[in-house]
């Protein structure tokens, strides 16, 4: 190989070649044009162009990003050099932007080790999104394989998704701080708004080359929060806290900035904020309807018996039994046969095994429940295709059996199917069957926007999971209005959850992503489903549970109102200046002879 160095614009450029230039002019053996072309294509595929050409777009799956999203990625990586805050309003796809930016850095070989820190409720969603959309496999800190190796796992795996609540705690925090991560992504970063918290200090101490903070609400209570978040990305960009307060915070009002222009100009170097009003994303309307079902006397008695066991046994039980009791409560809220296997597993762990055996017998006996009858009735009235969602395989089996008996053409989708079977089932649903009966696990990563009706046969207690179900059809590409029909048996936990989410805060008509922000304001540390379970098991009777639910409802409403008023404040601070809806890209001057793969 020949190597020489020459100076161009004051920079030494090393020039090398495996080819013997002196002999080239007299070469008598040549390879074909086809091989030459392939050679160029291979070089192009392994080329790292400037960030105005995104390689990730060719490698992502099923992602057709909006202009504001590709521009955000280009800006985040090009102008911000991989360190910035993605503060788009909810529903504009911050996750897609961050995922594409990550994929871009991975593809270019600029990063290897990635840590994604998210609230616990989003861990699975991130795993799903990165896997299905970016073809990237992450391990989550909840997985057995990860847990089995203890703290060493943080150094062993290159791509990790972890709950920030887990990560910031000892011994994990110490282990993570020992590691060098190339990229850290923090979703719902507003949880780190306070510099005095363990979370903020933990993230600040991490060694990272690139960092993306994602939040739709960078300011919640005061401007100091914004300062704290910015400091995590670019320490010193807004000065010291003291100088920031002096220069940018109005006296007596910690939420109102002064020196707007100067502040905006500084923030413009690290914040991207797209707004729905100015983006090219159009959302179709969404309507929700709840059908409250009167259970038969025997079903009602069964529900109460199971609930009593849960209430009585929950408090003193070991963690594993607690988890089983929680699942049992959810299962009995779905349909009696769904509870059978959990009851069987609990038979030897709870005091009165004979009573449990009796419950098992009753559950098996009530396979064709009132709820299934209503479901069949609802499906028959829908003129279009519909997706029936259930949490449990046993409920799935009961629903499909009933549909088979009633002659309703359906396609099944659940976690027990192979990828090929799932694809086949979805194609069949798209082209011939009327109903897709899906479990949450089975529908992971699937885009089903060719359908616009969802029936929630049972309801996940975690609103984020409800949102994920809706998100399967109410997403970019949906052209029709979306209808969500919820089935709930009267006086069950699901009935109360629906009261809170639908009647109280109108969740089913919120933009995807908004519920998370509202719930974040409700309680930062505890998940909504845990709050519900806590209220249920600590209430000796329905009346007291109702009181707790009413209080939770008021808190939720207050959180929603606070969220709405906050949007006004953020508009004042950010305006439209941080939009990427207008392209900032420029073509290369040397494009003429620059080779591009055709």
């Amino acid at each position: 190989m020949s190597v020489e160095v020459f100076q161009i614009a004051g920079i030494p450029v090393s020039f090398s070649s495996d080819l013997d230039i002196k002999k080239l002019g007299h070469a008598d053996t040549f390879e074909t044009y086809q091989l030459f072309r392939l050679n160029l294509d291979a070089h192009t595929l392994s080329l790292l162009p400037a960030f105005d050409t995104l390689l990730s777009l060719n490698l992502s799956r099923g992602v057709i990003p909006f202009e504001h999203q590709t521009n955000s990625v280009k800006k985040l990586l090009g102008r911000f050099r991989g360190r910035g805050m993605l503060c788009d309003e909810v529903g504009l796809g911050k996750t897609i932007e961050a995922s594409l930016a990550m994929l871009e850095l991975i593809t270019r070989g600029l990063i290897k080790r990635v840590l994604i820190l998210v609230p616990p409720s989003l861990v699975q969603q991130w795993k799903e999104e990165t896997f299905f959309k970016c073809n990237l496999e992450f391990i989550t800190s909840d997985e057995k394989e990860f847990k089995s190796q203890g703290s060493a796992s943080w150094g062993k795996f290159d791509r990790i998704i972890a709950s920030i609540h887990t990560a910031k705690k000892s011994p994990h925090s110490d282990a993570i701080q020992q590691e060098n991560f190339d990229l850290i992504i923090v979703d719902e970063a507003h949880h780190l708004k306070n510099a005095n918290t363990v979370g903020w200090k933990f993230l600040n101490a991490l060694k990272k080359k690139y960092i993306f903070l994602l939040t739709a609400t960078p300011v919640q209570n005061n401007l100091e929060e914004l300062f704290n978040l910015v400091t995590l990305v670019y320490p010193g960009e807004l000065g010291t806290l003291k100088s920031f307060k002096k220069n940018f915070v109005s006296a007596g009002d910690r939420l109102t900035p002064k020196n707007y222009e100067q502040l905006r100009s500084l923030l413009g170097e690290l914040i991207i904020r797209n707004r729905r009003a100015t983006s090219d994303v159009k959302f179709t309307k969404r309507y929700a309807k709840t059908i409250r079902i009167q259970l038969s006397t025997s079903e009602k008695e069964l529900y109460e018996s199971v609930s009593n066991i849960v209430r009585n046994q929950y408090a003193g039980s070991p963690q594993q039994v607690k988890m089983a009791l929680r699942i049992l409560q959810e299962e009995i809220g779905s349909i009696p046969p769904a509870a059978v296997s959990t009851l069987e597993s609990l038979r030897d762990k709870l005091p009165d095994s004979a009573a449990i055996s009796d419950l098992i017998r009753q559950c098996n006996h009530l396979a064709f429940s009132e709820k299934i009858k209503v479901l069949i009735d609802v499906i028959n009235k829908i003129p279009d295709k519909a997706i029936v969602f259930t949490k449990f395989r046993a409920s799935h089996a009961a629903i499909t059996t009933a549909m088979g008996k009633c002659g309703i053409p359906y396609s099944p989708l659940h976690g027990g199917l192979t990828r090929h079977e799932k694809e086949k089932s979805i194609k069949e649903f798209q082209h011939s069957s009327k109903v897709l009966v899906a479990t949450d696990v089975g529908s992971e990563g699937r885009n089903l926007q060719f359908c616009n009706h969802i029936i929630n046969f049972d309801l996940p207690w975690n609103p984020m999971k409800i949102e994920q179900r809706i998100g399967r059809i109410s997403r970019i590409g949906q052209e029709k209005e979306v209808y969500v029909i919820n089935l709930s048996a009267k006086d069950t936990i699901e009935d109360y959850i629906l009261y809170l989410l639908d009647a109280k805060i109108n969740m089913f008509e919120l933009v995807i992503g908004e519920i998370d922000v509202i719930l974040g304001r409700l309680d930062e540390e505890t998940d909504f489903d845990a709050l519900i379970m806590d209220a249920w098991t600590k209430s000796p009777d329905t009346k007291q549970f109702e009181n707790q639910i009413n209080q939770l409802g008021e808190d939720l409403l207050a959180a929603k109102q606070k969220y709405s008023s906050l949007k006004d404040t953020e508009d004042k601070i950010f305006g439209d200046q941080f939009n990427t809806a207008v392209a900032e890209t420029k073509g290369t001057e040397d494009g003429e002879d620059e080779y591009r793969n055709s």
């Binding site: 070649s17 003291k242 080779y595």
Partner: protein, 348 residues
């Protein structure tokens, strides 16, 4: 499909190996290639590869993808092609040439048009050298460029957009009939012209990137300096206020010390991050052969007869202009004066 570029590349690869690729599932192909045929199932879907370990994943970073890139980039580095499929009717070119070129003699009696004597057009082989250069620039990010420069071996001049023409004609492994080469220049001259061309392109690009990196570095350095200066001043102020409190003073001093270490590390990190480097390599060369049709033309003047080669270039579908010996510009009209030969341009 978004992985379309990769799919096309894989199929081209298999075809180059005289093999076959068959789509068996969405994003999954069965391929058969090689002299001792190898059969593989290849997918662009990570999910499919996970489900069945016999299926090879074909995405950047995967073992199979990297192996193919390595294989392909080690071949086709010095290649040659012979273009064919040109529809040339010499009589039509001849008529066209008679209409296109004009020759005039300027004498005492004024300007007289001179009719050229034109031999029939005969094919000659001409060559174009195409050089592919890969350039990598590094600062805190890496940026690559691949330049192809095509040089006409007759003139050592750059042919712009030449690569586009290569896709328009069939390629042969060689011409069946022997065809004489037409006035080839020294290879070294062609190569140096190509290298010079890329260097010129890089001058602007490197200067821009260098400026960008310097600006970013300076900006960050100024910000960091200001930040730590302010922080230090605030600590000094605190020290003054708490001068009596020994414990507080010790505490602040410890923080100051830690801050100084942080500052040094931050500043050296900035310096390191924006250091610029550049490298360039010649990755492949292609010789393109194609026929040009040449007619020997003689122009009878009062004192002497001038001779020229008129060339029909079938690739660009045009008659090539002659070069004015006075101003060196291209022209289809030459004027013969006593003082020398001039084109229309010379009179402007």
């Amino acid at each position: 499909m978004s992985t379309a570029i990769l799919e096309k590349f894989l199929i081209d690869y298999v075809e180059a190996k005289e093999g076959e690729a068959e789509l068996v599932d969405a994003g999954t192909y069965t391929i058969l290639y090689g002299s001792e045929p190898t059969m593989k199932t290849v997918t662009f879907e990570i999910e499919a590869a996970k489900e069945n370990h016999r299926i090879e994943l074909f995405l950047p970073g995967s073992i199979f993808f990297d192996a193919i890139i390595k294989d392909v980039t080690s071949r086709g580095c010095v290649s040659a092609t012979w273009l064919s499929g040109f529809q040339v009717v010499t009589k039509i070119i001849q008529t066209e040439a008679m209409k296109t070129f004009s020759f005039a003699e300027h004498g005492k009696e004024g300007v007289k048009k001179r009719e050229p004597k034109m031999s029939s057009f005969q094919p000659y082989n001409v060559k174009v050298w195409t050089f592919a250069f890969k350039v990598r620039m590094t600062t805190d990010i890496i940026e690559d460029h691949l330049y192809t420069v095509s040089i006409d071996a007759r003139t050592s001049k750059i042919l712009k957009n030449f690569m586009e023409y290569l896709g328009k004609y069939p390629h042969l492994p060689q011409y069946e009939e022997g065809m004489p080469d037409y006035h080839l220049q020294d290879f070294q001259g062609c190569y140096l012209a190509a290298l010079d061309c890329v260097k010129q392109k890089l001058t602007g690009l490197i200067a821009r990137k260098k400026q960008e990196a310097t600006d970013l570095k300076n900006k960050e350095a100024v910000r960091m300096k200001k930040y730590y200066d302010t922080l230090n001043a605030e600590m000094e102020e605190a020290l003054e206020k708490k001068a009596e409190d020994r414990e507080a003073v010790a505490n602040i001093q410890a923080k100051q010390k830690a801050m100084l270490v942080q500052r040094q590390s931050a500043m050296s990190d900035i310096e390191f991050r924006y250091r610029m480097g550049a490298g360039m390599s010649l990755v492949s060369v292609l010789v393109t052969n194609y026929p040009c049709y040449v007619s020997k033309v003689s122009i009878p003047l009062s004192i002497q007869t001038m001779e020229y080669d008129i060339i029909w270039n079938p690739l660009f579908k045009r008659l090539e202009p002659l070069v004015c010996p006075a101003c060196k510009s291209n022209s289809y009209a030459l004027n013969f004066l006593r003082s020398g030969i001039r084109c229309q341009n010379c009179f402007k």
